[in-house]
Symmetry: C2
Subunit: 241 residues, 2 copies
Amino acid sequence: MTSAAPTPAYRRLSVEERRSQLLEAALSLFAHRAPEEVSLDDVAEAAGVSRPLVYRYFPGGKQQLYEAALRSAAEELEHCFAEPPQGSLSERLSRALDRYLAFVDQHDTGFSALLQGGSVVETSRTTAIVDGVRRAAAEHIVDHLAVRDPGPRLRMTVRMWITAVEGASLSWLDGGKEPPLDELRDWLVEQFVAMLVASAGRDPQTADVVRAALALEAPDGAVGALARRVVPLLGDAARLL
Amino acid sequence: MTSAAPTPAYRRLSVEERRSQLLEAALSLFAHRAPEEVSLDDVAEAAGVSRPLVYRYFPGGKQQLYEAALRSAAEELEHCFAEPPQGSLSERLSRALDRYLAFVDQHDTGFSALLQGGSVVETSRTTAIVDGVRRAAAEHIVDHLAVRDPGPRLRMTVRMWITAVEGASLSWLDGGKEPPLDELRDWLVEQFVAMLVASAGRDPQTADVVRAALALEAPDGAVGALARRVVPLLGDAARLL
């Protein structure tokens, strides 16, 4: 019995499989077009099914499909910052950012449309989903800082960096995806280090975090490279001390 | 003839005056309530006029009033970062942030609702207005950096800081307006310095900007204070150099 049965041209999918298939089709359309430019017919065509079938699974039509696709994207994004607590902070952040920026790259138009707002599919529900992603990312980062009870300064620094990463991502998409992703990633890690250090000047808890984080950095790591590039620039600033 | 004529209880306003009065009433309502919670009747009542009169000036109703109020707020915000090119960069930024943060403080609920998005009055027009404010702020800041032809790294750093300021403002409003405004202002100035310095490590143009800016800072200024607080923290990092 070496010859397998031929794959049927059409296979009856389970409810769950069909739903996933429709969602996947919707997500890939919403990733590369503004929500205004995606119709239910497009989703049906991309999934190779009829429009009534899409309605059977998503009676709320495009709005419901968009929200379901966004929820599934949000889940993926939330996982970006879930990183085992191993290695230096800059290594962990780099790995998380690699995943986050790959997502931005793969969902470019949809990511811009979503974060720039003002789209017809935007509701208080969709903004709550986006805000949930930010909150989850902030929690993951705070966890990596190994602080039991993070105070407002530390939390605000993390939140500022997250919005800065969003701003940089939009800017990167606007500007034709320059610089290359790995450079952008390293730069964003450096920005986090810089922002933490500046906050450490005002907040003893952040100062403890910075000291602990620096102790784990290797001379040939990202923070060492940053220090070697920046210290010579600051020679003139010695008179300010 | 020492006794002036008594002020009439009702004065006929010119078209422009009436429009301004209605806008002002709308702006003060939209400042402290979510757009969903402001009705045309509220605006009429606050301005002491009839609902039909509001419609005569704003036939598009609440949406038109909201957009007009937002446009007037945007103009005010754009002026925050228009600052004479005198003094050190940290002094100029401090004065600009004083105005910006006073605006955030005075328009708290409306500011949050606007930037968090998902509101019923949000359209591509309203997001374009908000984006215009960001762009204008970025232009003003780049002007203060005295660079003739700002490259992408410098532009992205400025944009990242602007989004970080927005994130911090929202965080500040969420957290019961803590820390006090002048502390928040100083902290945000320090964040800008830190972000610029980190970018200077990768970008010769930003490095020139940092050197020129440091040359104008006084030892008893904001950057001097930052340096004195931060340098002792970084003693451990010498092994990374």
